[in-house]
């Protein structure tokens, strides 16, 4: 892949040949890294250095998230190309004028004389959604005609990107697709892990670097560490999540605790994996927990049908009456307040927008927690009354 892309860009710069390509790969698979690496290699190549001087100065790097429509993208291109209608980093003129201007500019060049231009369209799929795909059409059209040599490179993570292109645009695209995949296996993953953690040779404190690197080597052979990594590897193969995990672990390193241990990694992994909603449940009051349990029972009884506050309150009243514990006997407004707190925490979600007419008690809701999540949360909930726990385990045990 690397070689392919390198060849492609080299031809553009050296021969003045126009090209277009797409780099497709899931998130975190190193599309941008690949491109940057290729560009760096290209810059080092002697043959093209002279062209490159100018070539890289104007290297439009457009991101679909920043250039939300063609108009903005066009202005950005003009600005980055530093054409003559740029006055102090600002581009003036209407959209139509700009487009005509840029096309004219690009048309004037020919294969041999003008400077090759590389367009990098990050988040290519977002450019596809622009109106009429004007920008893409024009870019590809230029790359298919005897004008200024351009190379259009799109980066995207969507596998179905070609189906999104309009037929005319698609016809003009050269159908060069470079797929970037995380195709390594676990052994390579461990290697990457070691490489990421070990200190480089130019680290000032050599003895510490050696000690640290030895430690990393030990870690990579440690069983628990391997388990942790295996787990992560099974979840997500991209290196970004690995970096995140290591970052959590390394941030535990202090002066008194200079070396990374397996426990650190385990702790980091635990943090990395925690369930966000279950975490929220831990911080709830007993009343709120009770409401959630009531909702869970409702879900069980009615098989996931939506419920409203009144149903939850009735369920809760049943529990209280059966148990006859005065300490749980709250006023209805208080229960309502607790319920609204849950709503704000987005543990419950209304099915439709709250309207003026419908009373709040009768708004239909859905619980955003799974029963297993609730049970897990209850296990670790501090000072949970036993009868509540029992009630949670079975709604029918009171009969």
């Amino acid at each position: 892949q690397h070689r392919h892309l390198l060849e492609l860009l080299k031809r553009t710069t050296v021969h003045g040949e126009s090209n277009s390509a797409l780099i497709i790969g899931p998130r975190g698979s190193g599309k941008t890294a690949l491109l940057n690496h290729v560009l760096k290699d290209l810059r080092e190549m002697k043959q093209v250095t002279e062209n490159l001087l100018e070539f890289f100065m104007k290297n439009p790097f457009l991101s679909g998230l920043l250039q939300t429509n063609d108009k903005v993208a066009l202005k950005e291109i003009t600005r980055q190309l530093q054409l003559e209608n740029v006055v102090g980093d600002k581009v003036f003129g209407s959209f139509a004028e700009n487009l005509a201007f840029l096309l004219e500019a690009l048309r004037k060049g020919n294969r041999t004389s003008s400077c090759p231009i590389l367009f990098v369209l990050d988040e290519f799929d977002l450019f596809v959604h622009h109106k009429n795909q004007t920008l893409l059409y024009n870019l590809f059209d230029i790359s298919q005609s005897a004008q200024t040599p351009v190379t259009v490179i799109g980066l995207t993570c969507r596998q179905d990107i070609l189906e999104l292109l309009e037929k005319r645009v698609k016809s003009r695209f050269s159908h060069r697709q470079i797929y970037v995949m995380n195709s390594f296996d676990f052994k390579q993953y461990i290697k990457i892990f070691k490489k990421q953690l070990s200190l480089p040779a130019e680290f000032p404190d050599e003895s510490f670097a050696e000690k640290w690197n030895n430690n990393v080597q030990h870690l990579s052979e440690d069983k628990t560490v391997q388990d942790v990594l295996q787990n992560l590897f099974h979840h997500a193969k991209d290196l970004r999540s690995l970096h995140l995990l290591l970052m959590l672990a390394v941030s535990a390193v202090t002066v008194h605790h200079p070396l990374l241990t397996a426990a650190d990694l385990q702790e980091a992994s635990r943090q990395h994996r925690t369930d966000s909603k279950a975490n929220i449940v831990h911080g709830l009051s007993v009343l709120e927990i009770c409401l959630i349990i009531a909702m869970k029972h409702l879900n069980d009884v009615y098989d996931g049908e939506p419920f409203n506050f009144q149903m939850v309150y009735n369920e809760f009243q049943k529990f209280i009456q059966r148990k006859a514990h005065s300490m749980y006997n709250f006023e209805k407004p208080v229960v309502m307040k607790a319920f609204e707190h849950l709503l704000q925490l987005e543990l419950v979600k209304p099915l439709e927008r709250p309207s003026v007419r419908a009373q709040r008690e009768y708004l239909l809701m859905k619980l955003l927690l799974d029963s297993s999540q609730i049970m897990d949360a209850l296990q670790v909930y501090p000072n949970c009354p036993t009868d509540v726990k029992q009630w949670a385990a079975s709604s029918l045990s009171w009969l």
């Binding site: 392919h4 060849e7 050296v14 021969h15 040949e17 899931p26 998130r27 093209v48 002279e50 062209n51 001087l53 100018e54 063609d70 054409l83 003559e84 209608n85 006055v87 003129g93 005509a100 840029l102 004219e104 500019a105 004037k108 060049g109 294969r111 041999t112 004389s113 400077c115 004007t134 059409y137 059209d141 005609s145 005897a146 200024t148 993570c157 969507r158 596998q159 037929k167 005319r168 016809s171 003009r172 050269s174 159908h175 060069r176 697709q177 797929y179 995949m181 995380n182 590897f233 979840h235 997500a236 994996r273 369930d275 909603k277 987005e346 979600k349 955003l368 927690l369 799974d370 297993s372």
Partner: protein, 853 residues
Amino acid sequence: MNTRQQSKLIYSWYGKPMSSDRKLRTYQYKGILITSENSRTETCIQLGDFILVEGVNADQPYVAQLVDLYEDGAQHKRAVVQWFCRLEEIPQNKRKLLKREVSAQEVFFDQVLGYDTDIAAETIIKSIMVVPLHLGEELPLITLNKEQTFYVKQSWDGKCFKVLSPDIFSKLKEANKKRGVITNSSKAFIPSDIITPVKKETESVVRSATKPKNVDMGIESKHSASKSSLAKERHSQRVANNDIKTPTARKKLELNSPTRSKGRLLGCEVLGLLDDDCAAIKPLEPSATKRKVKFTSDILGSPPKIPCSNDKSKSTSETAEHWQSDMIRLSPYTKVKDFSEKDKHPYGKDDTLSLVGYQKPSSQSPVLTPRSRRTCAQKTSALIAEQISMLDQEGFLSDSDSSYSSSSEEEEDDDVPCTPEKKTKSSRIFSTPKSSRKPAVHTPAKTLKKTPLPGTPRTPRNATPEIPRRIQAAQEPASVLEEARLRLHVSAIPESLPCREEEFQDIYNFVESKLIDGTGGCMYISGVPGTGKTATVHEVIRCLQQAVENDELPPFQFVEINGMKLTDPHQAYVQILEFLTGQKVTATHAAVLLANLFSTPGPKRKTTVLIVDELDLLWTRKQNVMYNLFDWPTQKHSKLIILAIANTMDLPERIMMNRVASRLGLTRMSFQPYTYKQLQQIILSRLKGVKAFEEDAVQLVSRKVAALSGDARRCLDICRRATEICEFARQKRTPEIVRMAHVTEAIDEMFSSPYVNAIRNASLHEQIFLKAILAEFRRAGVEEATVQQVYHHHVALCRMEGLQSPTVSEIMAICSRLGACRLLLVEASNKYLHLRVRLNLSQDDVMYALREE
């Protein structure tokens, strides 16, 4: 011209008919009288005069010489003209033949046949000057009236430029002479103003009020008037008036009053020197008093000095006759000629001379020392406007006795409003040293417009769109494969288009017949992408242009718009108008102009061939763009041929309203997708002479593409990719030509589905998640599930595999990752567990991909 739009003009014959043709019931006249309605002035244009004729572009009227005037049987006033063409009217590619810079005022004697020389007299705007020059001659550096004078050096007959034949040259000259123009070694001409006062008066009125020039004109007219008829006494009266009314102006007038008393020559000298200082760098020959007198014409012209000049004109009254001769030489052309021929004199000399000159008036006006001259001018510039208007009024008072009383009133109306603008202009002149150095002080506003002030940043408007040149020359292809790749690139234009000969011939015949007839028409061309529609049409145009060069066809204009390259359908108007006339206006205005252009018979208009690519994108809700486009060719005088290109064959029926579709007509052509044989032929024709491909390989590619889409672009891309693969492989062994294996690899690369590969490379839990989805689908029998349901299956699957079951957050992360790759279709993520999930590929594909594990 803006005045034309502002005031209605009435055309009437001048004099009695010279001759008449009974049979044709035509009457010939020797002149036409143009009366402006709201100014009630008249201009008489006679045979042989040079005129401006309104044309396509309102800013660029045509230049012509009036040859004949007649009234035809239907009482329409007609005129026969000899055209001159501007540089803008000459095709871009022919301009190179000229091999020299051509100023905006140069025109060419038009010998192109086929232009209609018979025009309606109502299209005449006004009379102008056309001055014949020899080829080697420089254009005079300054001109009196930029819009009124043109120069002709060469003739143009549609193919090449020729030097004016002596015959024509003398004829043109004669025409000038007939108008009473005094030629000074064929270079200098007095504007007709001075000789034919009537015309001059009206001209200055006809000229728009906003033009700063016409004050000069008015004043000049006064000079001529004073020369011819006015008496000395009135002038002195005027001076007295001036002194009383404008105390601020007194200084200047005082400056001149002694000179007047001291005699004409002295006065001239002083004035000349004064002006010399003002211009600071202008070379001056000190001894030649005559020349100095010429400089005073600058004073005459430049607004700030008008008071002086006016005074001087009073002083002239003593020796009116002598002045007249000087005035003649005042014409700027001579003056500038002299400038350019003269060497520059050191400034010091001028200074001392000027000092000498100032010794006389210095007692009266110490302010006007050479040093303070500029600041003084700045100070007084604010007062100048006041002065001018004052003077004008006085001028009219004095003129009122003369025969031009009616017109002078007009002048007053026109002049007064324009003075404020004048004031600013003149003050600008003095504040910018560069422009004061310009010899064309005479028309300050004009020069300012032409030369941008130094220091002002370049406006985006005149930026030239250009990509910087590359430093290193592009490398030439080194090997056979590279050569082949270059030829296979879509951008490489082949000499001929194989397999499209029939379509080519059809389109060619269509356009050719319409061109010869001089009528308009539409043609609709459809075909799937990559079938060579645009290429064929361009080829047709190229051939037609070739034919035009060989004189087989009348010339035509070629305009191309592309729906995709427009930001808005209405921008089409703007682009067409810009192609045709070079104007830049708003879309609505452009539509009006174009409708006007195509619906009225233009005298000099060529046929226009308009290519509309990607027609379907010009669709608007009211379809007015398409309606207009197809309506124009049906107009009688439009001379418009439209070739519309789009993808769908039934576009007219599908998206167009009936009235649009009916105007499009039935001339249709559809480009069929290429068959494999045609594709093969295309590749082979491109690769002619280069042995890079195996026969079978080419056939494989073309068969494969023909089966899929018949898109020639795709075909070429595959071949190009194959050469690359071959090149990679060559590093190991050395196969020179592209074989089947390479082509197969390239095809696989382009057509293979990415999904299976993506699934195989996904992480374990992602795969389990997909399995869980499949299980849920099978359970529910619906191809849609919520995450919650899938989650239960996922946990169960994990238990079976003996893996740690993931938390809900992790599941959500997995789900969104798969969604980003579009392996799954997911809803917006705020629904959390109730998010609905659907597969973006068939279940079988997923099963196939997962089973391999």
